[in-house]
Amino acid sequence: MDEIATDSRIGQPVRRKEDERLLTGKGCFSDDVNLPEQAYAVFVRSPHAHARIRSIDARAARAIAGVLAVLTGEELLADGLKPLPHVPFSMHPAEIRLANRDGTPLFSAPHYPLACDKVRFVGEALAVVVAASVAIAKDGAEQVAVDYEVLPAVVDTLAAAEPDAPRIWEHATSNVCLDADAGDRAATEAAFARAVHVVRFSTQVNRVTGVTMEPRAAVAQYDAARQRYTLYAGSGGAVRLKDDLATVLDIPAAQVRAVMRDIGGNFGTRGMIYPEFCVVAWAARRVGRPVKWTCERQEAFLADYQARDLAVQAELALDAQGNFLALRSSNVGNAGAHPTNFSPLQKGVEIMSSIYRMPCAFVRARAVLSNTSPTRPYRSAGRPEVMYVLERLIDLAARECDFDRIALRERNLLRQAELPYTNPFGMVYDSGDYHGAMAKALELGDWAGFPARREQARRRGKYRGIGVANYVDTASGVPRERAEISVHPQGRVSVVVGTVSNGQGHETSFAQLVNEWLGVALERVDIIAGDTDIVKVGGGTHSGRGMRLISIVVLNASRQIIDKGKRIAARLLESDPSRVRFDAGRFEVAEGGRAVTLFEVAAAAERLGDLPEDLRGPLTAFSDETVKEASFPYGAHVCEVEIDPELGAVEIVRYAAVDDAGRAVNPMIIHGQTHGGIVQGVGQALYENCYYDPRSGQLLAGSFMDYTMPRADHFPPFDTHISEVPSTTHPLGMRPAGEGGTTPALAVVINAIVDALAELGVRHVEMPATPERIWRAMRAAAGTASGNSSTPMPQAQ
């Protein structure tokens, strides 16, 4: 880890200035907002995975004293609300497009904030009760009588893709709502035909959910006089939330204000407007009082957007020396009940060959609808899944074709001289030292010392395994971002940006940029992001775009502040602007040593009425940029596990990570991001699973009693290292650092587990690799090997 910060500039591990507020209960999260006269909303949610709504009888609920309104899909349609404006793909110019192979247009279906005709997953909201208290609203919700015609349901990804599966949307020809080809099919077939080795791997990547520490909440107010809505709710960014809410309410965006202060986690599953947010805004107008809704944890498990859930059948072709010839795959993503977002599928396909030299590839990418909560991007959308598939294929190739797994990776890993490199899907990797990252990870993980540790583990009766995984990540997202810097004579600098912190520490890291370029102390910098009455433009926090884009617009705006400042300072110092230099927050004339501070200059700008017009008034500047380049963070992780041969329980005993950030603004924050990312990745690999019962469609892992979260005591101390090879597609050389912890974690954990058990003949263990799954894999392998079903204890060698 890095040492103590010596100043607050770029590169310093400055302690997060927001932490004291957040850790002492002084944060302001959505549920902390309370408005006078507010009423409370409770949603009526479907107990069925799939059912037609025959009728809703709300008379008994409406009769309860204190119930202000019961609203259903019928009222929603009558009031002219529109479906949620989902954007199914990343439209970033650097990314590939997926289109139906038969040329038909993309399937769409209206996702109304309340289910109108059918309920399509357990927990889908179909009515809301607004009352004077939460308790009364709950009483009312219990009294809403819904007559359901229960329909057959399907939740499993591949089962949903079958032609005879229960149809989620009647106007679709099947549940397959996207069927696209990517890559060069003919070249790939030819390469497989001449391959010496072909390795095959099928897997179902488990479905997980974001589990934000702060559950969602929303408070909405309608100002009838001004016909204006205010929504207080956490999301990835305020501007997008405002625009989307206006779309659903079918009003001009100027009639909506979205406000968010502190946000306790997003990870992507919280990055999009939710049905409940629209309903509370609408309900606030209907009842003439502010309306508040706070999601309960079990409600969050049911109704938050979920993630991953990808069925893959993949093949890797190699020549006799181990050179990769081609990759071929079928990727089927489970979209859930509404076709909301296919970008995890898209992002997974386009970099499925990772940072290896892959002459050609072909992927058939399908998205299927099912009776489950809709899926969305979740930390490193789509990439952890495909990195897992490819890194498993490489380990399988090493074992089945007798290559050393490190040598096989080294042979195929792209060299620096080969960059920029266009991968077989058309993505252009800009720069990086992929070999260096892997070598460093192997060194940190002490790969060379592993055999001795395995031997020690044997003596303790444990199987010990080690794994390595390389990764690349496409950071893209909404390309436009804006920053407006204002220097206030009172001694503060405010920076208005369109990207809110969901816990990433923007108040510190963005302020470090201002400290670097304007020489202003961190505590004098205010980052303003969460109010659309102030923030007009901004894409929000997703896809590694926060620091990557904010750094560009803050730099541009800072330069303008300095240029303006020099002209004003020249006037004050009776010099020429060309002779004024700016350093550490002061403008000075080189020869005389006379100087004025940035804040004195700001005061002068407001005071002096005879300045040129462009300098007169508050000292401000803005930059509004659309960045068309994507970024490709990369790295390598090494994980070591021990397995209890009796129970199959796995313990992570070492974990080393190398992640390239190009240029680290705050290494301590990056290390923290990496730690959290690793834990989320390991959570998926070992513990987490949104388990829906295949027959009833009920979510059986619907609370913390059944949905296993990773915990602090599951992990050893991590050895994380930040590599800084400047990116050639970012003016400051930066690469995003928020998702690297997760991207290779699935792969490296499963690779380590299989390595531990390989001597038994275990070829693979599916995620989550629970003790029972490992125990069964050991038993099955032992049974195959010796006809004996008991698990052999590890033997010292």
Binding site: A135, E646, L700, T770
Partner: protein, 268 residues
């Protein structure tokens, strides 16, 4: 949570009186199971009678050969008790492993026993240690106390006052935690007393039970090797998203060996 009338009582007599009314009332001990159920509106009572004010229900003492623990004694108190550690160290270790610190600071022995959760730890200890549950009306042997899923021999209005444990010669407990809830996926409590060997299993069926084959094997030879060739049939065992019946059966055998190993450890 639905509305209810809350009453904090100061004596068993007061508690009895509070329960005696016609309406449905429930005793509240530590509330670690009852409160979540109430909050989720999964149960509805007209009255909640809080036993927290009855001082005589708390405490740990020796009564001749028995260790006596008051019903309202928290898990944390049992875990930290020098008397428990000296008398039945396996019981202190069990209490130290229940839930998390918050649960151990609120949850009570009597509440856990009366609730009879199929995955709770204490029932295994009571059954294996041949404990006696003392109520204001009678003494009930653990053997007949646990009847099924959340079902006990307690009659309406009957209040557990204390549990009497006979001191064993050897005792050990081992459990495999369900990964999410951290309740026992399976837990096995092994004892040897002057009366014989007992092996009590929790988490594996709808209620705690004795694994008689293991008891017989250990009665003949109180060493782990005696269990190595035994297998608990998986039929009738719990199966859920966390473990199949087959895996639970396997884990019972492993946990029995580990409990035995703990029982055989020399006192520290």
């Amino acid at each position: 949570m639905y509305d209810f009338e809350y009453r904090r009582v100061g004596s068993i007599a007061e508690a009895q009186a509070a329960l005696a009314g016609g309406s449905s009332s429930k005793l509240l001990a530590g509330g670690m199971s009852l409160l979540p159920v109430l909050k989720q509106r999964l149960a509805r009572y007209d009255g909640i009678v809080d036993l927290g004010g009855i001082a005589t229900l708390r405490g740990i003492h020796r009564d001749n050969a028995d260790l006596v623990i008051g019903a309202m004694t928290t898990h944390a108190t049992v875990a930290a008790s020098a008397l428990v550690a000296q008398s039945i160290p396996a019981l202190a270790a069990l209490a130290a492993g229940i839930g998390d610190p918050q649960v151990r600071n609120r949850g009570t022995l009597g509440g856990s026993v009366a609730n009879a959760d199929p995955a709770a730890d204490y029932p295994a200890a009571l059954l294996a240690l041949d404990a006696r549950i003392v109520t204001q009306r009678r003494v009930i042997a653990a053997e007949v106390f646990f009847r099924g899923l959340f079902e006990t021999a307690l009659e309406p209005g009957e209040i557990i006052q204390a549990v009497h444990f006979t001191l064993p010669q050897r005792a050990g407990y081992a459990k495999l935690r369900q990964s999410a809830s951290r309740f026992a996926l399976v837990g096995v409590f092994v004892t040897r007393t002057h009366a014989g060997v007992r092996v009590a299993v929790t988490g594996a069926r709808d209620s705690v039970f004795r694994w008689r084959e293991a008891e017989a094997a250990l009665a003949a030879d109180f060493r782990p090797a005696a269990l190595a060739r035994l297998a608990l049939p998986s039929s009738g065992l719990n199966a859920d998203i966390h473990a199949s019946a087959e895996y639970r059966a396997h884990c019972v055998q492993i946990m029995a060996q580990r409990a035995l190993a703990a029982a055989l450890e020399p006192p520290s």
